[in-house]
Each structure stands twice: as structure tokens, then as C-alpha cells.
Symmetry: C2
Subunit: 332 residues, 2 copies
DNA sequence: GCCCCTCTTTGGACCGTTCCAGAACCTGTC
DNA sequence: GACAGGTTCTGGAACGGTCCAAAGAGGGGC
């Protein structure tokens, strides 16, 4: 009653297990009638290859592990999509693990993937302990995707270009005629890059003294509170660039509560082009991080390292695009 | 340069590989000094057990596969959380696969999990081909979680009680004083159950002739359009119960566009208690499907079947709760 | 000093594949 | 009919663990 093995198939087809193996791996050194017999026997028995046995023997799993930092922030779905399309074309599977779920249980979220001896690892988003990746990278290709934290040697890195994205936003607002522009800043490498680029762009347009930065915490509540502070200033800004969409939604609530119309009285911009920003009820102007392209590039890096292991870690920044929707307009 | 094996550890510790195996599996039949030596050697070499080899030998993987129907609908995150907590307590790992990603590539999304010989399978949400589960269930425990479609024999099923949820909503609205109540219906088993329960509850309160049903398609756009139709009726309803949160957001847009204030002029209720419903800008009254409890119960079913394989498929419905937020009030 | 018993430790078979060296089988040539 | 050379097929050794039967070590009693 146990699943059939290659030997069961061999017996039924009246050949050796080696021949079955040859047929199933698509060799052309097999006489057609034997091939037919083997395939028929496999079909009749409902044979499925045992991945454990195969990878033990082949010393590879044809599987890459994908470690997500948090399933609750589904900005990475496009990224996975891009990743999967390329990996699948090369006969590789993806296995997902969620760092947040496993962290709570106290173990390293990558452990199950490493024990499975995945052929490579894609880390999506920022991990609590990025240094640990260095040790892993010595044993298998590792790509960090969608995070901008510094990377241990030998790890490739792919992400959206946050500096360019923040510049696009800031120039969009300046182009609309805004001068007093505020930024709701976030934390982490990404938060830092977006803020710096905002400041640099304002400076480049001679608006350094009109730029305001308030700290949010990348939550809706943080965005709300920071915006209330901003809008109560004597020199109230006419536009707000939030570090991400969720902060921007908080800003939207604050504006509404204080009786400001968006975008007529106040322009708002988010970042990430999340599904939330696409709700017609919100319809946020935002930045699309080219997740699909990031995913494809991550797959590319991985495939390259399968062919030529070792070497320096390479970086790649994908060009983001501005999604102009309903929350930006010229200042009043 | 290949990862160390149990033999490398044995050699370094000066014992046989069998003893290493005993120590690593926590046997108490080992003299403390040997145990110490083995553990030290394993640590020094950075030894990690090879999951493929182990599962080949043990004939089990200590891993359950989780097949998600679509990562883009993250209502299942609580469910995974509940699932993981119980599985982890029993030394089992979770491996995720996304049906939608793999479907696009033309293969059965469960294939990689089956080839890995996972010990059990949890299917989260509705699959395109539920009948295929029957064949799988003959070989391993299978639980369908968070879907209400009919289930092949031998498959357990856990989900929120949609009938009760819809009743809670409808009675909440009736209790507030609403009489003309509309339902934005969805499709699938869940859509059907919620609609039927809405109609039954209205009937039970003698309001059968005040109940209206409009079909949405479980998208924001569908909710928007259905609501526009509703609100242009001569006997405009004073409350709308949407089949899910995203449809409810569409309804919210429509109401706003037609100049109706929510909840003063129109009450709205969603379903699923998604993160979207919790945005303070929307703050939808909605139904929480007890995802955590559903996940725990799914794990329970799985664990039971590991102990006693076979037997009928069992159903379990978790009791949902009403989350009263900002979109419901007495009628004008 | 020997025997018995218990506690530790070990070698080897096995799990289901792949891969390789070589066997077996053709076909054609001289 | 022997031989060469190619094609097709097969047995057995990995791969890295687990598990079992049995060997070895140590202690106690006579």
C-alpha cells in the first residue's frame, strides 16, 4: 500500500530499474517499444518520483527556498511572480517560508529550507539577522530581494531604486507647483534612502528650506499622527510624500479629519503601489517598485550562480515608475 | 567542501555513525561524555542533518504541505498562524505553495509537495479542481481549510460558519432599526451560504419582502457597480451587507459618490475582517472568521489522522464574531 | 576466576533514486 | 564466421541518514 517505486514500475514493464530511470529522465538511448512499456507501467501504477531519494542521489534538489519576511505585507506577490516565471522555465521549484511565523516559535526560519538542502535561497525583505546570511552564502547562492540593507559578501542584491523613486515623487510635486513639501519618513535602509533622496531633490531645486520631515513609523497610525502635527504647523505644507502607502492612508485620514480636501487642498503620495493604493476609494498616487522585474532579476542572479558559483555579490536596482492617481494636484 | 555528514561527525568525535545518530535523536542510552563529544564535534563542524536522507530512511518527512489558493488574498495569514503554532509544537514543519503562481505555469500546484512526500496536506481556500484531492487523500491526511465547497470522501474540512456570520450581520442591522436591507452577493459556496443565510434571517424577522439581493463579483468594482444600481432604486435600502470587505469598499465609494454619508445615511457591513477593513480611513464593520481557530483545528485534524489514519472526513465550523466599527448606525 | 546481566556501542541492511562501467545485443564487413 | 563498432540494457555502488541485531564493556555475586 506504499507508493510505487521505480522497481515496481520496472517489474511491471519487464525491464531493469536502470532503464526505467533512463526513460523517466528522457534519454533517447531507449528503444521506442521499451519506452512505451515503461511509461505505460508508470501511468498504470500512478508512479511519482520520490524527491528525497532523487535529491539524495543527485546532490541537488532543483528547488530554491524563498524566505519571506512577513506574509502580512503582500507587496512581494509580484516579485514572487517574476521569480517563479524564470525559475520554472529552468525546471526549478519554489518553496516558501515565512520568517515571521517561524520566528515566533523561536527557531531560525531558514532552518527547514537549509535542512532540505535547497539549491539556492531568495530572501525577500529585511530579515532580523542579515549577518547570518553570510554563513549560508558560503554554501549556496543567496539573493536578497526587495531590501536595501547592507549585504554580507557573496550575496547578490536586487531591489527597487528608492532614490530614484523618491526623486520621481518629489519632482512630480514640484512640477505641479508645490513648494512647501513634507516627507513622512520611515525607518530602516529603505526609509533612510527615500528621505535622503527627498531632501537632496528639494535641495537641487533650491527648496531646501521648504522641505519638512516628520517621522512616522511606517504604520497607518504613525502616518496619521505625523500628519496631524504637520498640518497644525504655521507653515502648513501643501503636499505630503509618505514613505509608504499605509502611512499615506494614515495621512489621508488626518487630512479628512481636519477638513482638508485631497487633492484640492493637500496632495498626498505613497510608495509601493500596494493593492490598498489601488482601491478606488483611496486611489493614491504612488510609486511602483517594479516587483516583477526585481523577481526576474533575482532569479537571473541565482541561475548565474548555479552555473558559476562564487564571486562577488552583485547589486541591481530596478527602475521604479510613478503611478499618478487621484491624490495629487496643483496646490490651492 | 561539501556539507559535513554524520560520518564526519562520528570520525571527529571518535565514535561510530550509529552513536552519532543516537545522540542526535536524543537517546538516553548514551554515556554523558560520549554525548558531549558528539555534540561538540557536530557544533564544530556546523553539522546539519540532511532532510532528504532522513525522510528517505524514516519514511516520513515531518513536514506538512500548505497549498494556498492565492497569496494576493491574505485573509489566511491568521489561519497559517494557528496552524503553525500547533504543528510546531508537534515537531512538524510547514511548507507553503501558491496554487495561483503554479497554475499559470500549467502544472498541478500540489505536485512539488507530493513529490516531497509531505506527511499531510492542508489546502487553504477554494481550488480549481477539488476532486483531485480525493486521490491525494487516499495516500495522506488532507484537510481543506477556509472553503465551503463539497469535499471528497476522507477529507476533513474546517472553515468559518458563514451562515452564522451572515445571521450576525443581518440581526445587527435589524437590531439597529434597519428594514430595507440589501445584500451584495458573491459566488462560490461561500457566496451562496452567506446569501441564503441573509435571506433566511430576513424571513425569520418577517422582512422577506424588504430584502434585496444584487450580484457583485467579489471585487471592488463589482461592489461599486452593484451599489450604484441599488441606490438608484426607488426603494433605496438603508443598509448594505457585502459578501466581503473588498466589495464593501466598492460600496463605500459608490455611497460617497452619490453624496450619502456612511453610516448616517447608509450602513455598510463587510466580511472577513481583513487588514483593509481595519484601516481607520475605512473602519468597516465586518465579520471576523476566527482564522486562528480554523488553523488550529485544521492542525488538530491532521494530527489525529497521523495517529489513526483513514476514517470519514469530518467537518468543523468555527464560530465567527461581529466586529462593529464605524460603518453601521441606526437608519436616518 | 567465571558467569550472568545490564548498559553502551557498533556494523550492516535498508530507504528510492542516479550514475557508471560493462554486458548483451545488433548490424555490417571482410 | 569472426570481428568491429554502435546501440541498448543492466547490476551494483553511491547518496546520508535510521534502525536492528548483536558485539563489547563493566559490575555484581558466587
Amino acid at each position: 500500500m506504499r507508493p510505487p517505486t521505480i522497481r515496481d514500475v520496472a517489474e511491471r514493464a519487464g525491464v531493469s530499474k536502470s532503464l526505467v530511470s533512463l526513460v523517466l529522465r528522457g534519454s533517447d538511448q531507449v528503444r521506442p517499444e521499451k519506452r512505451e512499456a515503461v511509461l505505460r507501467a508508470a501511468r498504470e501504477l500512478g508512479y511519482r518520483p520520490n524527491a528525497a531519494a532523487r535529491s539524495l542521489s543527485e546532490q541537488r534538489t532543483r528547488t530554491v527556498g524563498v524566505l519571506l519576511n512577513d506574509l502580512r505585507n503582500p507587496w512581494f506577490v509580484d516579485l514572487l511572480d517574476g521569480l517563479n516565471s524564470l525559475l520554472h522555465a529552468h525546471g526549478l521549484h519554489m518553496l516558501l517560508a515565512d520568517a515571521r511565523l517561524n520566528r515566533r516559535t523561536g527557531q531560525d526560519p531558514a532552518d527547514p529550507l537549509l535542512d532540505l538542502r535547497v539549491d539556492g535561497l531568495v530572501v525577500v525583505g529585511t530579515l532580523p539577522d542579515p549577518a547570518a546570511l553570510g554563513a549560508v552564502a558560503a554554501r549556496m547562492p543567496v539573493v536578497l530581494a526587495g531590501a536595501r540593507e547592507p549585504v554580507p559578501p557573496g550575496v547578490d542584491q536586487v531591489a527597487g531604486d528608492d532614490e530614484q523613486g523618491a526623486r520621481l515623487v518629489t519632482e512630480h510635486l514640484i512640477g505641479l507647483g508645490h513648494r512647501r513639501i513634507a516627507h513622512l519618513a520611515g525607518y530602516g535602509a529603505v526609509g533612510e534612502l527615500r528621505r535622503r533622496s527627498f531632501e537632496a531633490t528639494m535641495r537641487a531645486h533650491g527648496l531646501a528650506d521648504r522641505a519638512v520631515v516628520e517621522n512616522g513609523d511606517m504604520t497607518e497610525e504613525g502616518g496619521y499622527r505625523a500628519t496631524v502635527r504637520l498640518l497644525n504647523r504655521p507653515d502648513r505644507p501643501t503636499a505630503v510624500f509618505a514613505v509608504n502607502d499605509i502611512t499615506c492612508v494614515g495621512a489621508l485620514s488626518a487630512a479628512e479629519e481636519l477638513g482638508l480636501r485631497v487633492p484640492q487642498d493637500l496632495s498626498l503620495v505613497g510608495y509601493d503601489n500596494t493593492s490598498i493604493s489601488r482601491l478606488r476609494h483611496l486611489w493614491l498616487t504612488t510609486v511602483d517598485n517594479a516587483g516583477h522585474e526585481v523577481g526576474r532579476r533575482a532569479a537571473r542572479f541565482l541561475l548565474d550562480r548555479f552555473e558559476r558559483p562564487g564571486g562577488e555579490g552583485r547589486p541591481h536596482l530596478a527602475a521604479p515608475t510613478l503611478e499618478i492617481r487621484g491624490t495629487t494636484a496643483p496646490p490651492p
